[in-house]
């Protein structure tokens, strides 16, 4: 398993254009969209468009790295830590991380209520 880290100017997204390779041991079975023709065909040629469909707009100066899982190596995205979470515990931070964020089609966002913890 290779973990690829997101940053302020770098965004990673994982796909399997040839079939449906996915980090099962960590994320379980993949959702239907991940295995579907629309995602598999477009993630490599139009990652910005795909991310927009997931509600994620990335600035032009953010480098996008698409990981096509063509071998038995599995990829997992380490999401960028959102601002305003500096005082949160490991457990609280883990609760913010979604499956979609670890595939790279979503970001992790701080709780709206902020500071409640």
């Amino acid at each position: 398993m290779v973990v690829v880290e997101n940053g302020p100017k770098l965004h990673n997204i994982v796909v399997c254009t040839l079939c449906s390779c996915y980090p099962w041991p960590v994320l379980g079975l993949p959702p239907v969209w991940y295995k579907s023709a629309p995602y598999r065909s477009r993630a490599v040629i139009d990652p910005r468009g795909v991310l927009r469909e997931f509600g994620l707009e990335l600035a032009e100066d953010v480098e996008i790295r698409v990981w096509d899982s063509t071998a038995e190596v599995r990829y997992l995205v380490l999401p960028e830590r959102p601002a305003g979470t500096e005082k949160m515990s490991e457990e609280e931070l883990a609760a913010l991380v979604s499956r979609d964020a670890m595939v790279g089609v979503a970001k992790v966002t701080a709780p709206q209520t902020g500071g409640k913890a």
């Binding site: 290779v2 040839l18 079939c19 449906s20 969209w33 598999r40 038995e72």
Partner: protein, 219 residues
């Protein structure tokens, strides 16, 4: 093979349907299809590459029409017939013929986690020299094998850079056809988005593809 499964870069597949709170299986038969595939794989008659190829050879029109687990069942039936585990008559009738092969020992529920949990690693601990080094420029070969290959069409003939050496793995292109494991190095190869898709692609963007020594040549 230049099949419809090799869909990286294709247009016309429609919007992505992102289902909220999606269940793991959408119907009980899907869970059964999944379990059947895992249980039949435990016979050890085929390997993961042959199993992938069995889905790739589903005719293109059918492949695009079928749901994921329909493809799984279709591929599985072909493998089982090919390897003498069932006959088409048995599949059609749903009843085993007299003298049909049975797994010994049978895969019982209590053995499932132990048998299926370990998987079948495809990395190989053999001393094979890598043909390329990290940082080296390479070209994905312009090949069009009629059988199984993990070199996607969209990368063929394109220039890339070796980003990482993953080590030695079984070569799916031969293993899928039971022509030997041919262990060799697998690399993460970085292809600039503009090399793959032209001037309209993001200047900084890139696609990383895992490729084997036999898929690459010196640039």
């Amino acid at each position: 093979m230049n099949g419809v499964h090799d869909m990286g870069g294709m247009h016309g597949m429609g919007p992505i349907e992102h289902e909220k709170n999606e269940p793991v299986f959408h119907a009980p038969w899907e869970a059964r299809a999944y379990a059947l595939n895992r249980a039949m794989g435990a016979w050890g008659k085929w390997n993961i590459d042959a199993s992938r190829h069995a889905k790739e050879v589903i005719p293109a029109t059918e492949y695009l029409r079928m749901s994921y687990y329909e493809k799984w069942i279709t591929g599985l039936v072909e493998l089982m017939v090919e390897h003498g585990l069932v006959t088409r008559q048995e599949v059609a009738s749903g009843k085993p013929a007299t003298g049909a092969p049975k797994a010994t020992p049978a895969l019982t529920a209590d053995a499932v986690a132990r048998t299926l949990g370990v998987g079948a690693p495809t990395s190989r601990d053999v001393a094979v020299a890598p043909r390329f080094k990290v940082g080296q420029h390479v070209r994905a070969r312009n090949i069009h094998p009629a059988g199984h290959t993990r070199l996607p069409r969209y990368a063929r003939g394109k220039l890339g850079t070796i980003a990482r050496d993953h080590g030695v793995f079984v070569f799916p292109d031969t293993n899928a056809h039971f022509l030997g494991e041919k262990p060799q190095h697998v690399y993460s190869v970085r292809f600039a988005a503009r090399e793959l898709w032209g001037e309209k692609a993001g200047r900084r963007d890139a696609v990383y593809i895992d490729l084997w020594d036999d898929h690459l040549e010196q640039a």
